[in-house]
């Protein structure tokens, strides 16, 4: 680690300090996720910058305040990408929210992409969890605990993410009459299969010959036309079992797009709040109390509480 990189994290730690409530601000892409931060919390920003992309290791070290778009354009120069969502704001925000990309079947899940996390703890220290390699079981899995934790356990400053090669060919198609479940079952490793109750979108990825062969095979399941990309989707995420998605039209009002084979439904309406009852609730409270005993990190936010 270079002196400059250490200094950026130390500066962030100094900014977070040790007293008073703080909330991290990125691009405010999912500002109300899990509830808006309590008024009065001091706003802080994580440092920015892509530090080191190592394509042969399939890793990138990047500061949390960096825009996802900036990270992805740096990775694309070497033919790679990450699991972070294209519609994410900052790297740290995307990790704290834990929302997957629409093409999660091809890109993988955000929870599987975070190899190492360096964060500022509630008592103002810089703490490292995980390791720099793609495979690592050295100690407990702090990185996974932090994905989706909405900055309530520590404030993410810098991370190492797993990267993946961008497939040689990629093609979006859409159909007004195909059964999305039959489509998903017929494809080996599509990038995405999306359904809004009427229309189905498919992203085919791989070598050009395979993409062409899969596109031809799809013709038996409906009529298809090229699409420029995925459809526009709403800001809210419902989480259903993949096997429950057929029932979405009876379950979710307003506009929605379901990710077939995954279970995420992107919707204009917010899902009902889930409560963590019983032993699970007690465990979650103990975890919060261990990492942030005074509740100063992002007060007001509750992981699992909607958008």
């Amino acid at each position: 680690m270079t002196a400059r990189a250490v200094a950026a994290l130390d500066d962030f730690a100094a900014e977070v300090g040790t007293v008073g409530t703080v909330a991290v601000e990125g691009c405010r892409t999912r500002w109300s996720a899990g509830g808006p931060p309590e008024p009065g919390a001091r706003l802080v920003r994580a440092p920015e910058g892509v530090l080191e992309h190592r394509p042969e290791e399939m890793t990138v070290r990047v500061r949390a305040g960096t825009a996802v778009a900036e990270l992805h354009s740096a990775l694309a120069e070497k033919g790679q990408r990450s699991a972070l969502p294209e519609r994410g704001g900052t790297v740290g925000g995307a990790l704290a929210v834990g929302e997957d990309d629409l093409s999660v079947l091809g890109r993988g899940r955000v929870r599987d992409a975070l190899l190492q996390v360096r964060y500022v703890s509630a008592d103002g220290r810089v703490v490292t969890g995980g390791g720099p390699t793609v495979k690592n079981v050295s100690g407990f899995d702090l990185p996974r605990l932090f994905v989706g934790s909405l900055g309530t356990l520590g404030l993410i400053g810098e991370v190492i993410l797993r990267t993946n090669p961008i497939p040689p060919a990629s093609e979006w198609l859409s159909s007004p009459d195909a059964d999305p479940f039959a489509v998903a079952a017929s494809l080996h490793k599509p990038g995405a299969v999306l359904w809004d109750g009427v229309r189905t979108w498919v992203q085919l990825e791989g070598h050009a010959d395979d993409v062409g062969a899969q596109a031809r095979a799809l013709e038996t399941l409906g009529s298809w036309e090229p699409a420029s990309g995925p459809p526009e989707v709403g800001p809210h995420r419902w989480s259903l079992r993949p096997g429950e998605l057929r029932g979405v039209p009876d379950r979710i009002a307003g506009d929605w797009v379901a990710s077939i084979g995954v279970g995420t439904v992107f919707a204009s309406e917010a899902p009902p709040l889930r409560s963590l009852a019983g032993g699970l609730g007690r465990l979650a409270k103990r975890m919060k109390a261990e990492f942030d005993p005074t509740g100063r990190l992002n007060p007001g936010r509750h992981p699992g509480g909607g958008i």
Binding site: R54, P55, E56, E57, M58, G79, Q80, G98, R111, D112, S121, V126, V127, T128, G129, G131, P132, T133, V134, K135, N136, V137, S138, G139, D141, R144, L145, V147, G148, S149, L153, H188, K189, H207, D209, A213, Q214, R237, S239, R241, P242, G243, E244, S259, V262, G263, T264, R274, L276, G278, G279, L283, A284, R286, M287, A289, E290, P303, G304, G305
Partner: protein, 498 residues
């Protein structure tokens, strides 16, 4: 008291031998009352058998051994043990290589071997619910007719259990493209150390709250005991190509691995074996391996065209790095034979030496060749033979230090060589363990990779699950950062080695 049938009669025969009396009499009686008498063992011979797992470490005599058949029984064991002030250690097949399952401080042992049912396979959700004692390979064999498999495939997959895979976040050759166990576990029913039963994660993608399932996987039995596990099932690929490349230097194989990834290819697996191990394997299973300084077993899978193209590109990259032969498996039978060589490598070592210590570190792929040179030099310096068979695609080294346990003083040299291998891997930017875990083996190396604050936070995660430090104490977290109430376990007990 549970029902007493024929099993009860068997137990009475054992009891006639005077088994359950002794200092743990009341504890054993309480456990037997909650389970059934025949599923609680306190025979000292059986207890001493469990002092070991597949590692080179030896624990103390365990406490009573329980064989529960349900979540409720595991919960009862946990509560009774807590009431008696005893720690609890879960145990699957005992194939762990870091001493994670060995007993320290006479804990109650919870064997999962009687919880071995595949409960449900749901093709719509693409998950299988299993009990923790299901053997890894049995699950994949069960799924094969349905066109699916369970992706993590440790070398011990014929014996190791899914519960053990969860505890160790196990890997295997095919984790290069498919990811390790944590990628494939979606939900778990867990008995927490305080006796609470919780479901962590869910079959839906974002079950809400902290990712406690992610935190639990790889917990090495220190966070609770999983009693039902939902794993993602992976569709079998339509096309597979398996290649065997031979090199006249191990650097050639290592550089090929790095170059393949840099070229944008992510094979399903890339395994390297050095000359000594290749010869032993060839002699053992006649897999058709050439006699070369190193062989690289590479596999690509996916759609037909891409698989063929990637196989050709890997062959070309290998030739550019000095491959002296490239063979592509012509059919499934030849492919199975090539893999059999790799999967039986550890057994084949018995031809070279009576015992071995299998190490596990990860280094950046680009550092593979230089760290391997260091590993061989460390062996020479300690007059030990070290052979290498490893998951090269992940940078996951598996040096085997060969030795004869009857040779006086050899264990100290083996230990010293192991410590130097760990140091060399960390110096190269690597990590302590890729898939075997920390257990007792690397507990006291944790400070080489993590600072005091880092270890303090890992311990906080652990304390949230287990505030009383009752689940597998003395493992993973070094003693100076671990729970305060286990003073007795502050150092690895005398005699643990060997």
């Amino acid at each position: 008291m549970a029902t007493v049938g024929r099993r009860g009669s068997l137990f009475r025969l054992r009891r006639a031998g005077g088994t359950p009396v002794g200092p743990d009499g009341a504890l054993v009686a309480a456990l037997a009352g909650a389970l059934s008498p025949d599923r609680v063992r306190n025979d000292s011979a059986e207890r001493s058998l469990l002092a070991r797992d597949a590692s080179v470490f030896k624990g103390g005599l365990s406490g009573p051994i329980c064989f529960p058949t349900s979540t409720a029984e595991v919960q009862a064991i946990m509560r009774i043990s807590l009431a008696y002030g005893r720690a609890v250690v879960p145990r699957g097949a005992g194939t762990g290589l870091a001493g994670g399952a060995i007993p320290l401080g006479a804990p109650v042992v919870v064997s999962t071997t009687k919880m071995n049912r595949i409960l449900e396979v749901d093709l719509d959700d693409r998950v299988a619910w299993v009990e923790p004692g299901v053997v890894n390979l049995d699950l994949s064999n069960h799924l094969r007719p349905l066109g699916f498999h369970f992706a993590p495939d440790p070398s011990s997959q014929q014996a190791c259990t899914i519960g053990g895979n969860v505890a160790n976040n196990s890997g295997g050759p095919h984790c290069l493209a498919y990811g390790v166990t944590s990628h494939h576990v979606v939900a778990l029913d867990v008995v927490l150390p305080d006796g609470d039963v919780v479901t962590l994660g869910g079959v839906d993608p974002e079950p809400g709250g902290y990712d406690l399932r992610g935190a639990f996987v790889g917990g090495e039995g220190t966070l609770g005991i999983a009693t039902r596990i939902a794993v993602r099932i992976t569709p079998n690929p339509p096309a597979v190509r398996t290649l065997l490349l031979a090199f006249d230097s191990i650097e050639g194989a290592a550089t090929t691995v790095s170059d393949v990834i840099a070229a944008g290819i992510v094979p399903a697996a890339m395994e390297v074996m050095d000359r000594l191990i290749t010869r032993a394997v060839e002699n053992f299973v006649h897999a058709g391996y050439p006699d070369a300084a190193a062989v690289l077993l590479a596999e690509v899978d996916g759609m037909e065209a891409g698989t063929a193209i990637d196989a050709e590109r890997i062959a070309a990259i290998g030739r550019a790095n000095g491959a002296i032969s490239v063979r592509v498996a012509a059919d499934d039978e030849e492919r199975a034979r090539l893999w059999k060589g790799r999967k039986t490598a550890f057994g084949a070592v018995a031809q070279i030496a009576p015992s071995y210590y299998l190490h596990d570190t990860v280094v950046p792929r680009s550092a593979l060749a230089s760290v391997l040179r260091s590993v061989y030099a460390i062996g020479e310096a300690h007059q030990l033979t070290i052979v290498n068979v490893f998951h090269a695609g992940d940078g996951n080294l598996h040096p085997l230090i060969l030795f004869d346990p009857l040779e006086p003083g050899v264990l100290e040299r083996v230990h010293a060589a192991g410590a130097e291998i760990v140091a060399a891997s960390l110096d190269a930017g690597g990590v302590l363990s890729g898939e075997h875990g920390i257990g007792v083996e690397k507990r006291d190396y944790m400070h080489l990779m993590f600072g005091p604050d880092d270890l303090d936070h890992q311990n906080r995660l652990r304390r949230a699950f287990d505030p009383m430090c009752r689940a597998n104490p003395g493992k993973v977290i070094p003693s100076s950062h671990s729970c305060a109430d286990i003073q007795a376990l502050r150092s690895v007990p005398t005699g643990v080695w060997g």
